[in-house]
């Protein structure tokens, strides 16, 4: 038993990624330049396959609540509050997409209904469970961006 415990740190080390990942930029430290965010929040490219899952997951991006997306036609009921996202990569550059997802208000204006997915200062009375938390993690934001970049017409 004690042997096992002693081995645990070594085991953990072994499964840790060998390439050190750059630390994700904190929500309050994200730099907007002319309403876009050029640099990846994680310093790396996102994973489009996972981004598709985050996009559809009701407890994560839940993007289908408001947007039609024909690429996810296996999912019933797409909302129509925001614009359809078919061909979204033809209309927006990556730094623009990143800015809209991180803080929609910077790009679309204060009146937009769209949530800001990587911002700490949100509406009043945020439920305790969600206080001090962003809707998506930096990795999830980058994954969604990578996925959106596949949506071309």
């Amino acid at each position: 038993m004690s042997l096992k415990t002693n081995f645990l740190p070594a085991l953990l080390l072994a499964v840790m990624p060998t390439v050190a990942m750059a630390e994700a930029v904190a929500p309050d430290d994200v730099v907007f330049e002319d309403d876009v965010i050029v640099a990846s929040l994680t310093g790396a490219d996102g994973n489009a396959v996972n981004g598709r899952k985050v996009f559809a997951n009701r407890k994560q991006g839940n993007c289908l609540a408001c947007h039609i997306n024909a690429d996810l036609k296996e999912q019933l009921f797409h909302g129509e509050v925001g614009p359809p996202l078919d061909g979204v990569a033809d209309r927006w550059e990556e730094p623009e997409l990143r800015a809209i997802i991180v803080n929609s208000k910077i790009v679309l204006g204060d009146e937009t209904i769209m949530p800001s997915f990587y911002r700490l200062k949100n509406g009043a009375r945020t439920a305790e469970k969600f206080q001090g938390k962003t809707i998506l993690s930096a990795e999830q934001v980058e994954d969604v961006i990578a996925y959106l970049r596949t949506l071309k017409e």
Partner: protein, 285 residues
């Protein structure tokens, strides 16, 4: 401007909505609500200086199936509650040895018009009162019985029965005089963005009514049908329960049922629907 944008948007989406959204429709439908041969209006002109040009009952945003439940009192599942409340009306409770019927000898019909004018000012408490406040005041003061919880079945049933007496009558609440600061507070709450998702009531129910939000057809959030029988709840629920649900969805900490905030919001939302007919007990999904 908004209307034009909406119409263009809708036609552009038609191809998609037909396949992805079986229930989608961009606007309230044109159906007419007739209950027992009597038409209950489900739309009205908005006030000149009001935020909405045209007012629509939530009934107009529901599917034909859900609508049909409300068009026939024998189909309306809320009428079980009405029957129970009619029995309760006769039950003696409390130290004073009284039932509702002991004072209200004319029966529930005495309350015709009351629901349409709520919340109203109560000079004794110095606050607006809702139907729940009025019922509980009767229970504690006149009957010397225990008050009912806001969302207790007995309370829901009785608010439905009292509300039914005003069915078809236009909502008309006092917003000036003593009610003015409450109206202003409710208005402020309506337009305040809350929660991690950072949305106000207006984002959905003023700017986006008629649009689908996932499988849900956004209505104007009118309160003229409450308490409503909600299929999702499989039972009746109060206005404040619905407010709480909306706030939780936005990941905000909801106010409490019966709180000053929700009473103020109830007043303000009622005022936005002035001219619509009371539909209590309505059926929604």
């Amino acid at each position: 401007m908004k209307r034009v944008k909406k119409a263009m948007f809708a036609s552009g989406l038609l191809a998609f909505t037909l396949t992805l959204n079986p229930a989608a429709q961009a606007d309230p439908d044109d159906d007419t609500l007739v209950i027992d041969g009597v038409e209950v209006i489900t739309s009205a002109k908005g006030k000149e200086d009001g935020p909405l040009d045209e007012l629509y009952s939530g009934w107009r945003f529901r599917s034909d199936e859900t609508q049909s439940f409300q068009a026939d009192d024998f189909e309306n599942p809320a009428f079980v509650a009405i029957d129970q409340a009619l029995e309760q009306f006769e039950v003696v409770e409390g130290a004073a040895g009284k039932a509702c019927a002991s004072c209200h000898e004319g029966g529930p019909e005495e309350f015709e018009g009351l629901r349409a004018a709520l919340p109203r000012w109560n000079a004794d408490t110095g606050k607006p009162e809702t139907i729940q406040h009025i019922i509980n005041e009767c229970r504690t003061e006149r009957m010397q019985a225990e008050p009912w919880k806001w969302e207790a079945n007995e309370m829901l049933n009785m608010t439905a029965l009292v509300g039914l007496q005003s069915r078809g009558m236009p909502v008309d609440v006092q917003t000036d005089g003593e009610m003015s600061p409450w109206y202003e507070k409710g208005k402020e709450l309506y337009y305040t963005r809350v929660g991690q998702l950072d949305m106000s009531c207006a984002n959905c129910h003023e700017d986006n009514y008629g649009n689908m939000i996932r499988a849900d057809h956004l209505s104007q959030g009118q309160t003229n049908g409450f308490p409503v029988y909600r299929l999702k709840w499989a039972g009746l629920g109060s206005i404040h329960r619905r407010f709480k649900g909306c706030m939780s969805n936005i990941r905000a900490k909801p106010y409490k049922r019966g709180s000053d905030e929700f009473v103020a919001l109830e007043l303000y939302v009622a005022s936005r629907g002035e001219g619509l007919a009371v539909e209590t007990p309505a059926v929604r999904n």
